[in-house]
């Protein structure tokens, strides 16, 4: 493997890792409030399809694609779509106190169904011969690098050129990871959020509105995860929607949350690492085809190892939120 290949791998790994990063940040915020949202894969699917459909409708209805609207419309559709599903999850688990695992899995079933049904409908509407539809013009706007990148001096190292070559969403994900960390660690809102996730009864006694925190955290988390789905279609796949292409990436995002021990900054490394593992087999020469599944297994095995090590070491700051997965009943204390 030479340097050029390595640079390509880095470029592709970040492209693949960014949707995972969005998903992981969203799930971390959600889990910090004590909601184990197993609906994240479904919500990411919904985010992806709403953005793709929004972009498709906009693209088909205008002659000239306005750069701002091309970014704005799909993003609003994604935010709206993922917000609605997140609200369904919140209403069922927080207001109606339903079991989080069951509700999450139902959301995932529903989300993946919606994604593939509407994706399939559009493919049928445009009478496409190929099993996908494309919103390339929209994707172009999402992948446009910042204007100053053109003016970089000739001698800039290749690595830096690559790191600056992405559309704004990659940097948005990084910024979100840092902002989330700061909010969780340094602000009163973050402290309250962690209190709700660790011990809702105590938080309630301290005057924190437990339901509101859970609602807001889960919805914000869901919307961020939805953006991950959007970026998968528009960034990683260049605007091509194919049914089922998103696959089980949503579960990988949940794996990264564990891998990063519930810390958004570590999730950055985790996502790029998992992203690299997802695409690595394309670039390795001379490996037998039988090894590819073993390579694909690595992220999950790594996650299991982290989970085991974390529970063995029993370090307080690395544990899952104590009330993760449990609904809170004030009357049942």
């Amino acid at each position: 493997m030479n340097v050029a290949t390595l640079l390509i791998i880095i470029r592709r790994a970040i492209l693949m890792g960014t949707p995972l990063l969005f998903g992981a940040i969203g799930e971390i915020i959600t889990e910090k409030s004590g909601n184990l949202n197993l609906g994240i894969p479904g919500i990411m699917y919904i985010g992806a399809i709403s953005g793709a459909v929004g972009g498709f409708v906009y693209k088909s209805s205008v002659v000239y694609v306005d750069p701002f609207l091309a970014v704005f419309i799909p993003m609003m559709c994604t935010i709206l779509g993922s917000l609605i599903v997140s609200l369904i999850y919140c209403f069922l688990t927080i207001t109606l106190r339903a079991n989080q695992n069951v509700t999450g899995l139902a959301i995932t079933t529903f989300g993946i169904g919606c994604g593939n049904l509407f994706g399939g409908s559009i493919i049928k509407i445009i009478k496409s011969n190929v099993p996908f539809f494309a919103v390339g013009d929209i994707a172009k706007e999402y992948n446009k690098p910042f204007p100053f990148v053109e003016y970089l001096p000739e001698k800039t190292p290749e690595l830096i050129k690559i790191l600056l070559s992405y559309g704004f969403m990659v940097y948005l994900a990084l910024a979100l990871a840092i902002i989330t960390t700061l909010i969780i660690k340094k602000t009163r809102i973050g402290l309250n959020l962690r209190a709700v996730g660790e011990n809702p009864a105590t938080a309630d006694a301290a005057g924190i509105n437990v339901s509101m925190y859970k609602y807001v955290a889960t919805c914000v988390g869901g919307v961020i995860a939805g953006l991950g789905g959007l970026y998968y279609i528009l960034g990683n796949s260049n605007g091509i929607w194919a049914n089922g292409a998103f696959g089980d990436k949503g579960w990988l995002a949940i794996a990264i949350v564990i891998f990063a021990t519930w810390k958004p900054v570590y999730a950055i490394l985790g996502s790029y690492f998992f992203g690299a593992l997802c695409i690595l087999y394309n670039y390795l020469d001379n490996i037998p085809i039988t090894f590819i599944p073993l390579l694909k297994m690595l992220p999950y095995v790594a996650t299991i190892l982290v989970l085991i090590i974390v529970s063995l070491r029993k370090k307080r700051e690395n544990q899952p939120p104590a009330s993760l997965g449990l609904s809170y009943f004030r009357e049942e204390r």
Partner: protein, 368 residues
């Protein structure tokens, strides 16, 4: 001023747990939820396909129960029921095993491996015994790994079992690459041509259906009338109580997980040896996840599970028939949307069964 208003508002509605809920009340609430779900599904069907919802429902019934389609529906019900039965004992002790998918797949893998390597070398009856033993053992191992860590070090079992699913999927992919050098995504009946379970009385799938029926009855007895079943319930209610009355909690967790894994292994065995005679990484088809919902909807009662499983299988088979009609322009994922909506309503209605909402009239009196 603002605070006192808020205070009043908070007291307007309060919620309390119902002490004992009568069976008829439970059934009525669920029927209402199901009816509401049907209305929403009907509207969605109308919007998406333009078909009259009543006719759509008729097509659903046709797809699930008519003539030739009835037997596969019953078989589908049996397999889903088998996986649901498998996850039930661990759920009763609040061990959230969402790794049934992986445990079923690893059972499939063990079965296929035995069929491939031993097929033709040992007598058929011996092969069937060996592959059954291997499938059960594989399922047990897959369930035991997270259970041991849960019992010893309190490792989060939900996340652990979830990850084990994907390890199992990739192991199957690895097996496929080794077993079939052509690089296809399945290993089919041409290679797995030994160890097929017999057709009882000439009826296809009858063997699987009978096995699952026996397991269901046994599980009902085990959970409700045995000492083990009692221990599981106590651990589920309160681990501290269990410890106090001298139950070895670690032992119960591991033993129950082994049982759960074993039945998942059997489901895998039946899928490969009595149904598909082939293997691919999608063979479990999400049943491991659906089973969790089936089991939960039935309140972890094996007999009720027959009906909840039937409901989900009905939607799946019905939607399958419905979406095959080209004029509606829908694809197979329509089933997932309908399933999702029905689940939302049933999940939501549990609240009204378990809790009572009181409307306090104090604020009105305050105004007067």
């Amino acid at each position: 001023m603002k605070k006192s208003e808020k205070h009043k508002h908070a007291k307007l509605i309060y919620i309390s747990k119902r002490a004992n809920v009568s069976l008829s009340m439970q059934i009525i609430t669920r029927v209402i939820a199901l009816a509401l779900a049907l209305v929403v599904c009907g509207i969605i069907t109308k919007v998406l396909s333009g078909e009259n919802p009543f006719k759509a429902l008729a097509i659903f019934f046709e797809g699930a129960f008519e003539g030739k389609r009835l037997l596969p529906t019953i078989h589908e019900l049996a397999i889903l029921l088998c996986v649901s039965i498998a996850v039930t004992p661990v759920f009763r002790m609040k061990f959230w095993n969402i790794g049934a998918e992986g445990q079923v797949l690893i059972g499939c893998l063990a079965t296929a491996f035995c069929m491939l390597r031993l097929g033709g070398k040992v007598p058929e009856w011996a092969l069937m015994i060996i592959m059954s033993a291997f499938a059960i053992l594989a399922g047990m191992i897959w369930a035991a790994i997270p259970a041991i860590f849960k019992a010893q070090w309190k490792t989060n079992e939900t996340l652990f079992t979830l990850m084990m699913n994907y390890v199992a999927i990739q192991l199957i992919e690895y097996f496929l690459k080794i077993a079939d050098k052509s690089g296809s995504n399945t290993v089919g009946p041409e290679l797995l041509n030994h160890g097929w379970f017999p057709k009882l009385f000439g009826v296809q799938y009858l063997f699987n259906i009978i096995v699952v029926a026996v397991i269901t009855v046994l599980m009902y007895i085990y959970l409700n009338y045995s000492k083990h079943g009692y221990e599981i319930s106590v651990v589920g209610e309160s681990e501290n109580t269990a410890r106090y009355i001298g139950i070895n909690v670690k032992k119960v967790i591991i033993r129950t997980a082994l049982l759960s894994g074993a039945i998942c292994g059997i489901a895998g065995l039946l899928l490969v040896g009595g149904y598909s005679y082939s293997i691919d990484s999608n063979l479990a088809g999400g049943r491991g996840f659906t089973a969790i919902m089936v089991s939960w909807l039935a309140k972890f009662n094996p007999i009720t599970m027959v009906f909840t499983a039937l409901l989900l299988v009905f939607i799946g088979r019905g939607a399958d028939q419905f979406t095959q009609i080209p004029k509606y322009g829908l694809n197979g994922d329509f089933a997932d949307i309908i399933t999702g909506i029905v689940l939302f309503f049933i999940i939501g209605c549990e609240f009204f069964i378990n809790y009572q909402i009181h409307f306090s009239h104090r604020s009105k009196e305050g105004k007067q």
